[in-house]
Amino acid sequence: MSAVDWEPRLLAFVCNWAYYTPSERAQVDQVAENGRDQVVRVPCSGRVSPFLLLNALQQGFDAILLVGCEAESCHYRDGSRLAQRRLRTLCQFLEYLGVEQGRIHLYWRSPLPDRPFNTLAAEAKAAARDLGPATVLVQTGER
């Protein structure tokens, strides 16, 4: 793919309890339809371990989006809180190591209708487009 045509590849972890209405689900599914971007639905954002995030970076995704619920509205009580603790720590550490700000987006959704999923996805990809293709942690041969 030439530099002009390059489109960032997005990996989105989306909690089942965020964006769950039929129309919202359709939006989420649509993001993955282009064949390049991927959506992984998880029962709770607490399922997203640092291993998954690191692995995603190594596989060369240019933008990573994680959507979970606010801590107070987590369906599994502690899952979101734990995810926030783990992943905010990890992301700050990754930034210290050289992962650019704007590669990884963590979004904790309130139960009230707010930002549609495709806006989140578009913003994540726009930020990655500005940064250029991911290089940190990417293993050649994995793309």
């Binding site: 190594q58 550490f93 990754l94 210290y96 190591l97 050289g98 293993q139």
Partner: protein, 306 residues
């Protein structure tokens, strides 16, 4: 043998012969210059071999998890005391199991730096007051001790713990360097290059993990095979995954003792990674993440102030 060492040997001997402990964990002279090594003293005779010096590179708290069921007297400098605090908080040891013999620490000498800077073979080394004396085939070299301390020791702010027994005067140390320094000024690409280059030397011996008192998991994540997150071997994928996650697992727990980087045969700098994570955790979730000696670790029965 100096006075402090004599007091330690006498105390250890007494604890063993009175049956208060099954083993005293300390250091003895090593078989090489600039090295002192861990000693499990189980008799008064063995206790006579204990030393207190700046060549003791290991963190003794690492051996506690192997001594379950035994009563242990542990010589505790700042390193050991800070690790002990976390081990107690994480219920890896029982307070009643350990007798803490607190000793003030004047820092561990960076032997790798000395060996790198001394072209001739060092045949013998000694600490004399504030100097390190080295003997080679042809020379006697004197080095200012303060300038040859390990990086972790230079950054240490808690070298003198309290314990069930406290030998020596309390002393304070003002950190004269910041372990995670310098990274703020660099671009992300520079920071990544620094990390990738530094860790590229890794030979996956796991000396860093094994030297650390807080790496006590029965199954380490690198040994987990379904799925196999961190490939073994020396290709960057596995090496980077290993170092990032190992540091990450120390977040808020690391005692900043530096035993990891002293154990590394390839001289890889590691403490700045976990130190940064400690700061991140403190920023995000507040202080009190286990690095202060709390009342629990101070010892219930404070006896002889040596």
């Amino acid at each position: 043998m100096n006075e402090a060492t004599q007091r330690l040997c006498a105390l250890a001997s007494e604890l063993l012969s009175s049956g208060r402990v099954d083993v005293v964990l300390g250091f003895e002279r090593g078989s090489l210059p600039l090295r002192s090594r861990p000693l499990h003293a189980r008799t008064p005779t063995e206790a006579g071999r204990l030393v207190l010096d700046g060549f003791s590179e290991s963190n003794l708290a690492r051996f506690l998890c192997n001594l379950a069921g035994q009563r242990v007297g542990i010589v505790a400098r700042g390193c050991e005391a800070r690790s002990l605090t976390v081990l107690l908080q994480e219920h890896q040891i029982e307070r009643e199991q350990v007798i803490i013999i607190a000793v003030p620490c004047v820092g561990i000498i960076d032997r790798r730096r000395i060996e790198a800077e001394t072209p001739a073979t060092v045949l013998a080394a000694a600490e004399v007051e504030d100097e390190i004396l080295l003997r080679t085939h042809t020379d006697e070299i004197r080095l200012p001790r303060q300038e040859y301390l390990c990086r972790a020791c230079q950054a240490c702010d808690a070298p003198a713990p309290q314990g069930d027994f406290t030998l020596g005067e309390p002393l304070a140390h003002t950190p004269n360097c910041n372990l995670a320094d310098g990274a703020g000024a660099q671009s992300p690409a520079e920071r990544w290059a620094a990390f990738a280059t530094e860790t590229a030397r890794c030979i996956r011996c796991y000396a860093c993990r094994e030297a650390c008192p807080l790496c006590y998991c029965p199954e380490c994540f690198v040994d987990h095979s379904q799925p196999h997150w961190a490939p073994g071997g020396v290709e960057p994928k596995g090496v980077q995954f290993w170092h990032i996650i190992r540091a990450y697992h120390q977040a808020g727990r690391c005692a900043r003792c530096g035993a990891c980087e002293r154990a590394c045969p390839m001289g890889i700098s590691l403490v700045h990674l976990t130190d940064k994570l400690n700061h991140i955790v403190e920023d995000l979730f507040g202080p009190g993440t286990g690095l202060e000696l709390d009342a629990q670790a101070r010892g219930v029965a404070k006896e002889e102030q040596g």
